[in-house]
């Protein structure tokens, strides 16, 4: 059956009818993006600009004995060379805003330019400013660095051994009980979450399945490489143009790292070519700023793809163990999980988030989850779309599938029976509000794919798998300033960089609230001087939190219009009603446009404003179904058909909700089947190019069928739940379960690359 995924299916569990929300307008920034006019970070060029490049370590772990920049400085066209000495001493300060506030600033500073020691292959050592990028690249070859090479530690299980080389000599484990270890080690932090009594729970179980899983490092793989342009004026004002998920975060990081007043730093968000969690932190911005201060010229810097893969923040590899106990009739009695993630060269992995998600789809009476944040000689890892959840739920959803097979219980029925629902506990969080896991599972069960038997083909190994996924979503802070123009149109300033249509999803909520058309709202992503505090575009938060700020700003504007009209019409403000964009009282009425004109004559120009830090994100569930074919000879897995079901709360802008679902699936398929950092024993990254770090192409995947489920989030006026991240969570488990269905083999490492599948098939035979 041909399914039209252009307009996917939507299943509503509410009766709300909206005028703007749920429609499919053309996005406001679409035209300039299909014509090539949109300006991304590296599309900017300033008069007099110089170009910066970064020298990177050829070793994974080494002491820097000396750096001599004199030959580089002497090269014609070179204007400045900096090393870590150009940064102020971070002392004992902690980082301010950003994704991980409260970590020692010295780690972040040393990750910008290595201080005394290199922690990974590709670690930045020095930066050069020159007349053009080619001269800058030549100058890098003239910087003489003497290294004392040390043994690297690459995997968490090696780094956690008591005799492992300690990468950071003064790193003492922050233990779960609040104490600090006395001996230094590579374990930066331990965490522990517990509910009920796990020992008693396992004692009640008829079946206990206990499995271990391992993970390679993967990269977010955004197509635009990192870039930054900075101009440090003589009066101390620092202007920065960059492609970041958070202009305010970059401003804070620059203030911290450069010890410079935040009021003097102005960050302009350019269009951003993908981020997925990898563009939440500074890499080039501080270097461009320092080189600009030194030369007096604007400095433009851009990474090449090898730099991006070697030295930005991929998401961790590591280890997950999951143990589940169940009764013979398929009720979970207890769960235990142990997660150890690569932090990379400095502390701060996403393991805590993985801990919170590992058992999230289920209501189990007893659970214990332990997490370990482990420093290894790899790049400092960062978030990647539902960070940590994909690893964690690959493990738990594979174990759930094994339990269903062993007990001969239908995997949908098992999940429905054990599903988390409103009022059930969550790890380290208040109990669940209204959530949609059950509704998603039912929609998956009723979907065209699940209801169509898998087509067999002679001599082909085919299988079907299903898996759930959860991501908690994040609120953080967002601001909107909306100005009513005299023709009734609205200029809406918001601080969230738009990576996939959020200008429009924010404008739609504003338009719905004020009762105007979305075409009458002009949403602008504003710079840090022009709009209130807005945190990163991340955590699936923009349509939820910035959308809420837009809703509140529209109500603020509405109140101001009412006040203005009350004066003009000489009526009490509370006698003016507002419906469908028309204000009326006492037989008088005015549309928003008419009101704007009337108020203009009185010198009244309403400006709606709001800053919010909402905390009732609601949490997002997804259920995916994968049909695969496994080539027994090569181990290659092909995706034959794929359905993604997801609770969006209420889908504000459905084509882009579907787009998030489809994009997340394909990233998940790449992670499941192919993507992985390949290191040699000395810690050199061997596949730092898009030829060798191969991401899915159009030919590697089928169309992705989507079913949006709408179980409104009670924590948002329009019921929004973030949608961006959870769709990457189920694919690896759904694919692993499908591979098992096809071949009888259980995969325990991501990616399930052809060589690994082939080896697993051979071992089974």
């Amino acid at each position: 059956m041909a399914v039209d995924t252009r307009v996917g299916q939507t299943i509503k569990h509410h009766d709300e009818e909206y005028k703007v929300i749920g429609t499919r307008p053309i996005r406001h920034d679409g035209l300039e993006k299909v014509t090539g006019e949109a300006r991304y970070g590296s599309d900017i060029n300033l008069p007099g600009q110089l170009h910066g490049k970064v020298l990177r370590s050829p070793h994974a772990h080494a002491r820097i004995v000396s750096i001599d920049t004199s030959r580089a400085e002497a090269l014609d066209g070179v204007r400045a060379v900096i090393t870590s000495a150009a940064f102020p001493d971070p002392g004992d300060k902690l980082t301010g805003g950003g994704e991980a506030p409260g970590l020692p600033l010295k780690f972040k500073s040393a990750n910008m330019l290595a201080r005394g020691k290199v922690h990974y292959h590709g670690h930045a050592i020095a930066a050069v400013a020159a007349a053009n990028p080619h001269v800058a690249a030549e100058a890098l070859k003239l910087i003489d660095v003497e290294y004392e090479v040390l043994d690297p530690v690459l995997e968490v299980w090696d780094a956690m051994k008591s005799d492992a080389p300690v990468i950071i000599e003064d790193l003492y484990t922050a233990r779960a009980d609040g104490t600090t270890a006395e001996e230094p080690s590579n374990v930066a932090a331990e965490m522990l979450y517990e509910v009920g009594d796990v020992d008693a729970g396992f004692a009640e179980a008829d079946l206990v399945v206990d499995r271990e899983f391992t993970f390679g490092v993967v990269h977010q793989g955004y197509i635009e490489t990192h870039n930054a342009t900075a101009h440090w004026l003589k009066d101390g004002h620092l202007h920065v143009w960059c492609s970041s998920q958070g202009a305010f975060t970059i401003r804070q990081e620059l203030a911290d790292l450069l010890d410079h007043p935040i009021t003097k730093i102005h960050v302009v968000p350019m269009e951003i070519g993908g981020g997925f969690g990898g563009k939440t932190t500074a890499y080039l911005e501080p270097l461009a700023a320092l080189l600009s201060r030194q030369t007096g010229h604007p400095i433009k810097m851009a990474m090449d793809r090898a730099d991006v893969l070697k030295a930005t923040g991929p998401t961790p590899g590591g280890y997950v163990r999951v143990k589940l106990g169940v009764t013979n009739d398929g009720m979970i009695t207890a769960g235990y999980a142990n997660l150890a993630f690569d932090a990379g060269g400095y502390p701060g992995s996403v393991v805590g988030a993985g801990c919170r998600c590992v058992f999230a789809p289920y209501n189990m009476p007893n659970a214990k989850v332990e997490g370990f944040d482990v420093v290894v000689n790899k790049p400092k890892t960062h978030a990647y779309r539902a960070p940590g959840a994909t690893h964690a739920e690959f493990a738990s959803e594979t174990v759930v599938d094994e339990i269903c097979r062993t007990l001969d219980i239908d995997p949908v029925e098992f999940r429905l029976k054990n599903s988390a629902k409103e009022g059930d506990w969550q790890l380290a969080m208040p109990p669940y509000p209204r959530i949609g896991h059950i509704e998603c599972m039912e929609a998956a069960r009723d979907s065209a794919q699940w209801q169509t038997p898998l087509e067999t083909a002679p001599g082909k190994k085919r299988g079907r798998g299903i898996a759930s996924g959860f991501w908690f979503n994040i609120g953080f802070t967002s601001s909107v300033t909306a100005k009513l123009n005299s023709d009734g149109s609205v200029t809406l300033l918001e601080g969230s960089t738009d990576i996939g249509g959020t200008r429009t999803s924010i404008a739609m909520q504003f338009a719905e609230t004020l009762g105007i058309s979305v075409e009458d709202v002009d949403p602008i992503v504003a710079d840090t001087d022009s709009v209130g505090q807005t945190d990163v575009t991340g955590g699936s938060r923009v349509t939820f939190a910035t959308g809420l700020a837009a809703h509140n700003a529209a109500n603020d504007m509405k109140d101001q219009i009412v006040e203005g009209l009350a004066d003009l019409w000489d009526v009490a403000a509370d006698s003016i009603s507002h419906a469908d964009g028309t204000f009326s009282a006492n037989g008088k009425s005015a549309t928003v446009g008419e009101a704007a004109g009337l108020l203009e004559e009185e010198g009244v120009f309403p400006i709606g404003k709001n800053t919010v830090t909402p905390t009732r994100e609601g949490g997002a569930f997804a259920v995916h179904i994968a049909d695969v074919e496994v080539d027994e000879e090569t181990g290659k897995v092909e995706v034959l058909r794929y359905t993604a079901v997801q609770d969006a709360g209420v889908a504000i802008y459905p084509p882009y909700v579907e787009g998030q679902m489809q994009g997340g699936v394909v990233q998940g398929v790449g992670w499941a089947l192919n993507e992985e950092y390949v290191y040699d024993d000395d810690g050199h990254l061997l596949n730092a190019s898009l030829l060798d770090y191969r991401m899915p192409t159009a030919l590697d995947v089928p169309n992705i069928e989507t079913i949006i489920v709408e179980v409104p989030n009670p924590g948002h006026p329009y019921g929004v739940r973030g949608v961006g991240e959870v769709p990457i969570v189920p694919p690896p488990a759904a694919m692993a379960n499908a591979i098992h269905d096809a071949t009888g083999v259980r995969m325990s490492h991501l990616p399930m690359s052809p060589a690994r599948v082939q080896a697993a098939l051979a071992a089974e035979a």
Binding site: T5, R6, R24, I26, R27, D29, G30, L31, K33, V34, T35, G36, E37, A38, R39, Y40, S42, D43, N45, H134, Q220, G221, Y222, I223, E224, T225, E271, I272, G273, G274, G275, F276, A302, D304, R305, I499, G500, G501, P655, Y656, E658, G659, Q660, Q662, G663, G664, V665, V666, Q667, S689, L690, L691, M695, P696, T697, A698, L699, V701, N703, I704
Partner: protein, 165 residues
């Protein structure tokens, strides 16, 4: 025409989007660099600089190329079409319109490359199958969309263009 002048730079005469253009380039500079940095045509993007992502796609003498893998001096005497030349003064190309209506872009950084590549496909094969679209576009990476809406947009544009032809 390419003439070496004294500074070590080469004078290149070429045609871009129907206009005759002159530029000076170092022999080591790629066509992508010259388009973006010398000529201000920043619609073509750099995603990899080694022929693996298609973000830099342009058409040179009727052939779809990765401009990061073409030396700028090779443009001498050639005719080059970039994303900036795809829309006409009358309006968007059907592919551009179709990308908008089908929500076939998210961050949009891959979009110019996809549109240039898809236009080259439809000029060669006005009625491609879904498989042919996927095969042709396999040289263009998109990390955001999962390709579904892009493939549909191309098929949709092909249909519109056939109807108009």
């Amino acid at each position: 025409m390419a003439t070496e002048i004294q500074s070590g730079k080469v004078h290149v005469q070429t045609t871009i989007n129907g206009e005759s253009v002159d530029f000076l380039a170092e022999p080591r500079e790629s066509l992508l660099e010259v388009l973006r940095d010398n000529l201000g045509l920043t619609g073509a993007k750099e995603g990899c600089n080694n022929g693996n992502c298609g973000a830099c796609n342009v058409v040179m003498d009727g052939v779809l190329v990765n401009s990061c893998c073409v030396l700028s001096v090779e443009a001498a005497g050639a005719s080059i079409e970039t994303i900036e030349g795809v829309a006409s003064p009358e309006g968007l190309h059907p592919l551009q319109q179709s990308f908008l209506e089908n929500a076939a872009l998210q961050c949009g950084v891959c979009t110019p490359g996809f549109i240039v590549a898809a236009k080259a496909l439809l000029e060669e094969n006005p009625d491609p199958t879904e498989y042919e679209v996927r095969w042709w576009l396999a040289g263009n990476l998109c990390r955001c969309t999962g390709y579904d809406k892009i493939v549909r947009a191309v098929l949709d544009a092909a249909e519109r263009m056939r109807a108009e032809a």
